[in-house]
């Protein structure tokens, strides 16, 4: 049996940052304020106190602090809190990639899915967003109503991994 720990993390502030106009200007303002640029689709950016993950073409998930972001967006986008609706589940241990293949359709075993990468996919019929934290851990953002079912699913599935 592969060594995997499935841990539900405490609730964190999560916001949707959406840009609807003048994206280049927003990126510019972001770089001026924070240094690096907003991360591209399929990746993430860790800043002090906040993590930005891009899951959609014009949408970033902001975990943690949102101070300063409203100003950067101006009238070109907005922030909306969604943290109540997502449960963070950490899959840690060497087998997390295999575990994500169970009931899935996404290639979590690909070398290209490296630390810092993000992806949204469907696992066991549930829409899950993934963030690779390290070679030994992956964070899954699971809809609240499905969280208990998914944790149960992963717990059972982990028992019959190779």
């Amino acid at each position: 049996m592969t060594d995997i720990a499935i841990t539900q993390l405490p609730a964190a502030p999560l916001n949707v940052l959406e840009i609807w106009s003048n994206p280049l200007a927003v990126l510019d303002r972001f770089e001026k304020a924070f240094g690096p640029s907003l991360p591209p689709l399929g990746s993430s950016l860790q800043l002090p106190g906040r993590l930005l993950i891009r899951y959609e073409p014009a949408v970033w998930l902001v975990e943690g602090e949102t101070i300063g972001l409203a100003e950067i967006l101006g009238s070109d986008g907005s922030l909306t809190a969604i943290g109540g609706g997502l449960v963070r589940v950490r899959l840690s241990g060497a087998g997390w990639r295999s575990l994500l293949m169970e009931g899935g359709v996404f290639d979590a075993e690909s070398k290209a899915f490296a630390p810092g990468c993000s992806a949204a996919t469907v696992i066991d019929h549930v829409n899950v967003r993934l963030l690779v934290e390290s070679d030994d851990a992956c964070l899954a953002y699971v809809p609240l109503s499905y969280a208990r079912g998914m944790i149960h699913f992963w717990t059972i599935a982990a028992k019959s991994l190779d």
Binding site: I19, W20, P23, L24, L27, L38, P40, L41, G42, Y55, E56, P57, A58, V59, V105, F106, A119, A120, T121, V122, N127
Partner: protein, 87 residues
């Protein structure tokens, strides 16, 4: 199960996508009622290529237009639609 190359995410399993409708059935805002109903209630439905609207619903949620063959299922072209995709 097709492999659909999302313009944003790259090749992904069809299970992540949902089909919405064909491009020829889109009722653009401001269409006259008779024309709107004609578009809404008919399809070319060719036994060949057609332009279809899909969404990467369980992935990046973006809308796509793909030109797809109805017999071979080969996707000839696929493009992103919706708000300008950001760099």
């Amino acid at each position: 199960m097709m492999l659909i190359t999302c313009p944003h995410c790259g090749p992904r399993a069809q299970a992540e996508f949902t089909y919405e409708r064909t491009v020829d059935s889109v009722v653009q805002p401001g269409t006259d009622p008779a024309g709107a109903m004609e578009r809404l209630f008919t399809r070319a439905n060719p036994r060949g290529l057609d332009d279809e609207i899909w969404r990467h619903t369980f992935g990046c949620r973006a809308w796509l237009v793909m030109t797809r063959h109805r017999v071979t299922h080969a996707i000839e072209a696929i493009r992103a639609v919706g708000p300008e995709a950001l760099p």
